[in-house]
Amino acid sequence: MAWIRTVAERLSALFRKQRREEELDDELRFHLEMEIEKNLKAGMSPAEARRAARLRFGGVEQVKEEVREERGVRPLEDLLMDLRYALRQLRGRPGFAAVAILTLALGIGANTAVFSVLNKVILSPLDYDQPERLARVYQTHEQYGAAAYVNGPSYLDFREQLDGLESVAAMYNYREFGFNLTGFGPPRWVTMLPVSSDYFDVYRVRPTLGRTFYREEERGSARIAVISNRLWRTISGEASVLGQHLLLDGDAYEVIGVLPAGFVDVVGGDVDLWVPLELQDQNATQNRGNHYLSVIARLAPGVTFDRARAELESLAASQAELYRGHVGWSAAIAPLYDDVVGDTGAMLCLLFGAAGLVLLVACVNVAGLFLARNVTRERELALRAAIGAGKFRLVRQLLTEGLVVALLGGLAGFALAYLGVRTLLPLGSDALPRVHEVSFDVRLFVFALGVTLLTVLIFGLTPALQFTKPNLDQSLRENPRTSTGGARSKRLRDGLVMCQVALAILLLIGAGLLLRSLGKLGEVDLGIRPQNVMTFEVKLGGERYDGPAGRIAFHQDFQDRLRRQPQVAAAGAISKLPVSDIYNSWTFTYLSADGEVMRHGGGADFRIVEGDLFEALDIGLVTGRLFESYDDADAPEVAIINEALEARYYEGRDPVGERIAAARVWTIVGVVRNVAHDGRGSVTPKVYLPHAQFGDDRNWAMTQVVATSMPGRDLVAIARRELAAIDPNLVVHRARSMREVTASAIAREQFAFGLLGLFAAVALALAVVGIYGVMAYNVGLRAREFGVRMAMGASAGSIRRAVLRHGLLMLGVGVVVGLLGAFALSRLLRSLLFEVSATDLTTFVAVPLALAAAALLAGYIPARRATRVDPVEVLRYE
């Protein structure tokens, strides 16, 4: 029952606080009066009696404080008092509060925003059952590339012969497939992924409705589909969807299954429906030259990656002995996580490091602010200690103030992070994998809270520790106008400013190097002229385009119509746009003009082109000729190669007139300039084939490329009109200017480096504020000294120099330390830099100069103020 009384006592103590205080006063007064009376009776004078009574009693306020402590409700009551007091303190200094809270908000916000992305993209495992057993399988070529797609027969070999893999799946995500879905409301564009039947086993995803594919159904002609939960909800939402037919480009596909909500394929991308992959035709079973499949696998239980790799490599070696098409080829397997995250990890860790530095700068800044402010409060705190406040209470009071600032800063930071992530994600969607998975979760909140509390400890305790041994006597005697804040705290403050400068230098140099890389990336010669070029796709679906004649006729008719428009300089089409990755890698055989084999097996990307493609992109001809209208289905088959292929396989011979062979034999008629396949200007050998001759191979998904001086929107409107005139069922899809295409190739760098630049700017601003704050504070403390010196005849200039000299000293030390740190750390950036040295002289000179200029400006204002001190005014206070 004791606890009930305790609780009741504590509650009533809280509510009856006022009355209790009065009663305590009465009680103690009664005591003293009785004692005085006793003393008077003993014959003392009234003054003597009073003095003796007080002496015997001890300090009244101290006794009261001790009684209050014994009441036991102190923690809560004190906390409320501390909070009220802290808020009053902050309101009294709105400038200090605003700077401190803003500083923390920036530091915490940057950290939380970056962490929320990092958390999902890097830290969290892939969202599948036993994700550590998931793998990506590639074929690799000794010259051509470390991570190529897999050819059809090899996939079947892998699936049948590798015991270390529980299941192996192939998907044809070689390019984005899309359909026009009709029959359920207005026509919509849906994305489709052809997959092998094992696909669902590898990911271990079970349909919520219906079933997935059987192995016998792995045929392109099987008109069945498994649909995503999202598509199911938009078109039906009922179990009755099973057995219904979707009209995709006019063909009816039976819905056999619905996948659960939240299933995302990290390799295949955002998919609306899955259809069986054709694995029984000649291409899949015989053609070892066509690498077009993305292969994923699940390791068998207990099998390590090393064992699976050894097994895979030995299979690849035996393939190379058996088949001519496999000469030079091997195979590789890697954890799926590594494949998905890739080098994004390094980039995000860099951003996280930068955000950490910003937080550090912010903490240093706030610590400096608190330190400077607490010197002016030394007297107030000493006074409170003298009238009975316990040391513990003083430390707690300071901690509470720190806590209030940190919590407000943390709150603002959280809001900033939320907005930041909202803003950054759309910008980063081209740059980061798994971005669609990023969201706020509990861990993120815990992290933000942790950062906040850490910050409290860092800057809240530093000033508090100063007062654990308050020298009351001295503090009380010191006139705040004459105090210089003590040598120790001054050294600490100067040290903090130097830290800030050093950290800012570190960040600015990192950002400088990366931004210079970004500048160089923007200047890379991609081999094309992206200005005034529009691109868009037209999917040819329906019976009319089942045969090659219909498709070839469409392209020629459509491009003729576009070419007739005013302001259109050239119109063509290509099977894969430049600067959008490697694609369609084939192994060719190189023949002389007479058909003699010059060389077996040399890989190259091939592209199907139609119309004035080379003119539209301004790809220059080196030797020979471009495709002409007479290179049609009846004419000898021709090809154009690029300079890289000529340099690699022709050893000084003129390739024009010689032949190359893969599925067919082509005569080379021309050589064109290289075109990059990525934003860094990388080039691979390429073979261009005319659509008019090779359009019968399959229904090529061609991207239309139009050089025009009219705005993109106008051209798309014209294209729609012309398309409708040819076939009202066709739609313009994915319209982008060539500039957007090239920009998305360096989107990742732009995203990361831009963010880092922003961090560096924040750090610079914080450092400048820090320098200004500390110098202004120092000048304020030394106002009297300056007044005296000026009264003694010192010139304003000499005082200004003295102030600036101090600022310069701090700046100098900070810059040197920062430069040394940057020199040591910048090599970590090397892999991210592009055509910029890790010790780039321009950056290492320009950054300190810029910082010094900004810092000097921040220091000059207090220095000027120092000399505006009126000696008479100052001395009057003495």
Partner: protein, 110 residues
């Protein structure tokens, strides 16, 4: 609080309980009585009595109420509760036992 009064804290609590076991009394009266009974051995600041009273009250060993003194003044009187009485008895036994033990040890040394 100094180290000296910390040492005395337990003793002070016991003295207060003992005094209040005789009759209800106000703070000043208790301090006078301590002085008389201990024949000036304990030179404690009178003020340190009040935290002790508050402590005993919180433990439920004593209770207080405002009364009028014989001189017609308002004062807070403290009196023992049942728990206080039992506590005093327990402490008295413990004290006797330990002081006897100390006595025996010191006596045996000579």
């Amino acid at each position: 609080m100094t180290a000296k009064s910390d040492l005395l804290q337990g003793t002070l609590d016991m003295l207060v309980l003992k005094i209040l076991s005789l009759e209800p009394l106000h703070g000043w009266g208790i301090s006078e009585r301590i002085q008389q009974m201990s024949e000036d051995v304990f030179q404690v600041n009178q003020g340190s009595l009040y935290p002790a009273l508050q402590r005993l009250k919180r433990k439920g060993l004593i209770r207080s109420e405002w009364r009028v003194t014989e001189n017609n003044r308002r004062a807070r009187y403290y009196e023992l509760t049942g728990a206080g009485r039992r506590q005093l008895a327990a402490e008295r036994t413990a004290w006797r036992r330990s002081s006897l033990a100390v006595e025996r040890i010191l006596g045996a040394a000579y």
